[in-house]
Symmetry: D2
Subunit: 279 residues, 4 copies
């Protein structure tokens, strides 16, 4: 029930992504046009990569729209890879450890959606987390559990496969508990050089997900829009909801798909559930 | 740009007022039907009278809808006079000292609306506050300034007259600064036994204000509604927006009026600007 | 590394317990005389019983000494059974769900001390929690885990036995992981009518714990102290550190003991580790 | 009653200044050796200069020692001029707008100490603030008032003279109200290229203030200390309390003095009260 944004490209000031666009993520926190919930006021977070391999995260429980520190920091962070997330809680407490993006080593992870009946199947899911990772779970959300399942299933080596296996496990465990449609999600994850984005739901009616059109093409389409001249050719955004209304700028990620944004060609593939053998 | 509620009557559990009604104040904090702003997520406060003459206040900067302490306290406070307020900031910081209701001695005060051009006329308004009261101003809102002006002009002796004089001063100072419509407000104030409520705006288009119908009459009208049997005959609510859709339950306070709720007969009067002689 | 207080007796204003005494718990939050940590600024909580069987809890992440809401509420809560706790984190995040007292149904629980090597043995301990209780764990502390283990081992039926079994499990699991002294604790728990207090540590060097002398005896000893006249004959305090310096007022709970405070005679017993059969 | 640090030199990671030193500012927030108050847990703030002329500020009301966002940001901010401040409130609320450093345009300002009897003389002091600056006062502290008085008296053109005149006014107003020793302070202010530091108190017993020895000299004195090799020749720290115990590293700023740290030679001068003509 959240909203998120992932950016990759030449270093850009965070505020140019978060506050400047007409229908920016911060605007969306007050009035989403497409989300299941119109207010996303239950905390927020940003994660970004700088000189270190490990990203920094800044997360807080206030609504993003009135956090002055977010404005301050966003006006001084210049980054080539940024994640931003605004949260609408589905029941778990509003606390920093429940805010996205989650981090492990040099990986970031954020999620929009929910695991159905999470309260009932939480224990089974947590038992499937690698024992060496288990104590690093800090919060109480379904999203963080999904992240740790993906880590358990090899996120660092094969991100698409690991997410497919993690989701497969959630489906298996959910079905065993009589849950018809166990998961609903869009997900983004990164290791600091590529961004993987996923759109999937058990019921086949996933929340929205869009990626930005190639900047070179967009510039030819809209020579009158100055911001496009400042974006690098490689710049790419993946968002839960389009920023602004620029025609031709946004492409919907198809139902049950995943894509990768990276130097060279981007890719888009079908999302395939992998039997986990866990049941 | 806020929403508020004032209750007077037999002792009642705060949660029965704040969380139980169909279109409760907490619901309104997420989705107001009538307010100028649809989300009131910039802090909240409640004030209530117990055994002491001085009221207690509980205020916080989180959105009311996800503050667990508010739920806890509301389920253990039984009070005969309650103020509750949810805030949508018009620019001043989201901090406890800017949350309503404000308190001075045994008085509570809360406000929905704004002083136009407050940044420009703040100094002139604050200079008009009694020097002995000046250092007790803790926050930075137009609303608290209005409260201290009312205290300066005799709120404790003549609440309607004091508010009229305070508003008169705001009009005078505003006009001197070329502001056409200096104030927009609904206000409630109490000394612990009566509640005075005000509806006024320079432009004659004030925010909404309603008071509840006499409970005895309402019970005859709706014998099928159980909650009416639990309310005492003297129970009265004044609200910025009706709770629920019960026909005949809510009466609009007319434009430019003030009323008083107290033991014995309630009253409703026109609001008259008083020249302050301050200019 | 925390400090706590438990009160049972005639209804008393919370602020008389929390703020009035010379060396009050709030004073201690800034400058403890006896604690392992001199500052307890990582959140606080109070829990109290009113008309309902279930207690209310008010918890926050600010230091107790500068939380204005705590002052407000304490001056309006009159209760016959109060728990109060100030936290010094041993590493887990400062968030509301990690503040004591913890609550389940009508039970409260608070803890001073630590489970050694908790990060390593957390998974094994959490697996021992009853699966039906598992999803109700909200935070990430060793203390809450201990509470849920006690609930698993029958806290509601046999509080002393359940705590002994929970501690026995922690000892077993710790020893299996090569931890010499797995636990250090003083604990208080209540169902709303009795208070059970525990003092134990694997190394036999537990943190301090005191209970107040019978008020009748204390009044004879100190006829000059007015506050003693306002306390009821049954009033009893259990504290991690004495409040004030009144001679004869405080008795140390012996190492490896538990006691119960309730209507009728209080009791004091040795704390016996019970093999859990869990290993 | 606070502690602060100001750094100027080659760009350095904020965490190297805030968290790395043996007796770092964050350590001091828990256990100050020299301050009047041993715990500084009532909020904190940092301000730093990047590419823009205007500095960024990050301030929060939690104790600095447990704010995870501070750790995150400090590990990603590389700056040539940093202010950091930890607060122990002398009575005004713990809220972001009362945390230091304060900012106006490209200026930062922070203060340790107090204006005696501030509650009584606040109105007179605020009336002396330039009317065009008055509405920009956001908080309620004596420190922010002192900053705005310095701005009023020409901080941007002549920092030492403006602070002398502002302090002169505080002395005058205080004496008129019968306050014997109206002010106690160490202050730092910067425009992004120089740092001015002040030590003064009416009673001639000011809080401590130190500046670091020239790095070139220090390196010769301590060839064995590796951190000195990483500091640039121009690096200079001004601190309310020495970091670490390195012999010869710290020099006390004399009572009633001010100094300036900048490219080229640093200077140290006597602080002279200037009659303000305000009385």
């Amino acid at each position: 029930m959240c909203r998120w944004l992932a950016y990759s490209g030449d270093p850009i000031l965070a505020e140019d992504l978060l506050f400047r666009p007409v229908h920016s993520l911060i605007d969306q926190s007050l009035h989403s046009r497409m989300g299941a919930t119109t207010t996303n006021g239950d905390g927020f977070g940003i994660g970004w990569y700088g000189d270190d391999p490990a990203p920094a995260v800044f997360k807080a429980t206030e609504p993003a729209w009135n956090d002055r520190n977010l404005h301050e920091i966003a006006s001084h962070i210049r980054t080539r890879l940024l994640f931003a997330h605004i949260r609408a809680s589905t029941g778990t407490p509003v606390q920093r450890s429940n805010c996205h993006p989650f981090r492990f080593d040099q990986w970031l992870f954020m999620h929009n959606g929910a695991i159905t009946g999470f309260h009932e199947i939480k224990r089974d899911l947590m038992l499937a987390i690698d024992p060496s990772l288990f104590p690093d779970v800090e919060g109480s959300t379904d999203s963080e559990t999904l992240f740790f399942l993906a880590l358990t299933f090899g996120l660092m080596d094969d991100p698409p496969g690991a997410v497919e296996r993690a989701v497969g496990l959630v489906e298996d465990v959910g079905h065993r508990h009589g849950i018809e449609h166990p998961i609903q999600m869009t997900v983004a994850t990164s290791d600091g050089s590529s961004i993987w984005a996923f759109r999937y739901s058990s019921a086949g009616r996933s929340r929205s997900l869009f990626y930005s059109t190639d900047v070179v093409a967009l510039r030819q389409l809209h020579p009158e829009v100055p911001v496009l001249r400042t974006l690098s050719d490689e710049a790419r955004l993946v968002v839960s909801e389009p920023l602004g209304d620029l025609e031709g700028a946004w492409n919907e990620v198809p139902e049950s798909s995943w894509g990768v944004v990276r130097a060279g060609d981007d890719e888009l593939h079908p999302f395939r559930l992998t039997p986990t053998g866990a049941t």
